[in-house]
Amino acid sequence: MALLKISEPGKSPMPHQFKRAVGIDLGTTNSLVATVPPGKAPHVIVDAQGEALLPSVVHYAEDQVNLVGQPALDMSIADPHNTLASFKRWMGRSTDDIQSNDSYDYVRPDASAGSTDASNSSSLVAVRTRAGVVTAVEASAEVLKNLAARAESALGGQLQGAVITVPAYFDDAQRQATKDAATLAGVNVLRLINEPTAAAVAYGLDKADDRYIAVFDLGGGTFDVSILQLSEGVFEVLATGGNAALGGDDFDRAIADWVLAQAAVSAADLGPSAYRQLLQEARAAKQALSEHSAVGLAVAGNGVDWAGELSRHQFEELIDGLVEQTLAGCKASLDDADLVPSDIGDVVMVGGSTRVPRVREKVALLFGQEPKIDVDPDQVVAMGAAIQADMLVGNNQERELLLLDVLPLSLGIETMGGLVEKIIHRNTSIPCTRGQEFTTYKDGQTALALHVLQGEREQVVDCRSLARFELRGIPAMVAGAAHIQVTFAVDANGMLEVSACETNTGVAASIKVQPSYGLEEAQITAMLQASHQFARDDLEVRALVEQRIEAESLLDAVQAALQADRHLLDESEVQSIEAAVTQLAAAAKQDEVILIKDAIARLGHQTEAFAARRMNQSIKQALQGRHIDAIAESVQND
């Protein structure tokens, strides 16, 4: 009789059973898919035309057949309303968040009275096309479907799963939107990983000795820098930073503006069509200047006729201010990570704009070493994702790769007075859980509303609303007696889950989640910058709000005490307490922290004796109501 063969759990019974897994770089401008063939190096899967890059553009055509990629991009000038591009910046965002200076027909939440639009997609960015209302999640799903189909035809069968990359600073809503898009596209998400981490993996840095790695990602329209730590094969993101409105397109504009200045005309003189052509020429010039020391440029149209030459040296002077901004971003992230440039073991370059020699030169100067440029900077992220996917499905048992991430932005909750109390700080290792105890504010309160926010600033208005939670079914108790333990859990993909329980009674409060929307990238960067700049103003506002709250609750408490136990005071005592109450109520209306503080102190002083008498009275009452054995027990425990 043949013996049954039992394989170790998680290990493949047949060594050659290859699982089809891919890595997908879902980019703002272009997207890519890559895979790792058995026993080979990772490579990007090209389409039928041999193209690796799929433009992240979707065109909703008249015949109901959506175009994705280059054919869609070709339609963007002829039919802009029905051609969606750069929709990654809408992921997990509301219409109010985005600055719409483009020609899309955005759906405004209150504009549509129909229940179909308003109920669900009310605030997510949505655009009216001839195919109906479309969100970024749906457009992203079209791109993912296209890439998955490309991979399935190349690999000869259905995909087991995909690792999709996201910017390291993507918040909860943006990661959720990315996962939703995959679900819509029918792609099984093995894991969302951070773009910089994927780039480092593509360079095989996970097999290197312990070190710090800087990933410098300069794309067409965005700049990101991340500081990673590699420790015994484990990656951690220590800090991220950047500028969501800085990229190679700005280099093109700098050249175009220079040409306009030389020709002594304005963009308006030139007209939009000729200006667009000038920008294209500027881009070609930029690329040529990577190889040549000078390049000819010309501009013509609308009575303008100019031709001249731009040297590499001149070009570098034009962009040095922009490059300097990226270096400042690097320094800020190094600071966040508590490192200096010489601590960095490797610098990885990502994004097409890192092909500009001046960028490489300046980055090399800052870090005191040559940056890594061997892997195609457009493909490096997708390749890293493919390596991780290959490992997660169990194709590669040898490579001991584990990616540990941190929370990109602090999670907090709204407290009294519109302030934010941070529950989980930025850069905390994930997955993680934090418990926080809350109590009731009023007698007999049975519900509690929690507002979860993400961001670094002190005030609610300056942070991004993630979700609102309503806890119901809290047992009715005296104000402050209920102990509501709320647990915030962030998973390995950086997504949040909340649960709650009243600890005295063990009653689990039911939670109603009302998800808000995410943050725009530019806002995150701006918020972070502002939190550094305005830290002191913030603190002053915070102090005033806190004093007012303290004043209010003290006034409430004193009024209640007077109502309950006025008999413990004589007439002159009542009068002096009431005078102090009036004074504090007046002070609380003014913007002087010191005034409120003093009035609080005075009322506190005036009510000291009253409080002591009340306390003695309540202790007596409490002791009277207690059982003998309970007292005996408490004595034993003391």
Partner: protein, 181 residues
């Protein structure tokens, strides 16, 4: 699966204030390598959930033991002493006076944008923070002895932790002020 609530046991470290941060980091990595949710991609949702919980607990343990103030509080917690930071009031008037003086000198140097004075202050505060840690470490709890609750001087231990917390916070504030210059 039972999640260990003693972080020292979880991290396979001796229960005392002195901690080898390198070993802590290494052991935490070792545990993550085994229990991180990524290791359970092919497992059941229940297993995945447990892995996520356990992985989170490992991260918490690593961060608590990695921070001197939180580590001290965890040691006290293991002895049954839970400190309430908000309600603790400092009774040592000499230390209160020292606190005031240090704060004043921080504000002064910050307003005058005096980098040299801030650097001197920083090294002073860093030193005091280290001394406060050594003081806590020298206590029975800091040495990892398990005592009965009545034998513990809760007030004295709380005062030591409060001291550490003060110097930790001030250290951060001085660093921030220095960076802002």
């Amino acid at each position: 699966m039972n999640i260990e609530s003693n972080y020292f046991t979880l991290m396979a470290l001796p229960q005392r204030f002195e901690v080898d941060l390198k070993v802590l980091r290494k052991n935490s990595r070792e545990l993550q390598r085994k229990y991180h949710p990524d290791r359970f991609c092919n497992a059941t949702p229940q297993e995945q959930r447990l892995a996520a919980q356990f992985s989170a607990q490992i991260n918490t343990a690593a961060s608590v033991l990695g921070n001197p103030v939180q580590r001290a509080m965890h040691l006290l917690e293991l002895q049954g002493l839970v400190l309430d930071a908000q309600s603790y009031t400092e009774k040592d008037s000499a230390f209160l006076f020292e606190q005031m003086e240090l704060r004043e000198s921080l504000e002064e140097s910050r307003d005058e944008r005096d980098a040299k004075a801030l650097e001197v202050l920083l090294s002073e505060v860093t030193h005091s923070f280290r001394v406060a840690q050594q003081d806590f470490s020298a206590t029975e709890v800091g040495q990892g002895q398990v005592l009965d609750l009545p034998l513990l001087d809760g007030q004295a231990l709380a005062a030591l932790v409060s001291k550490m917390r003060f110097f930790e916070k001030l250290n951060e504030e001085v660093s921030v002020a220095l960076k802002a210059l």
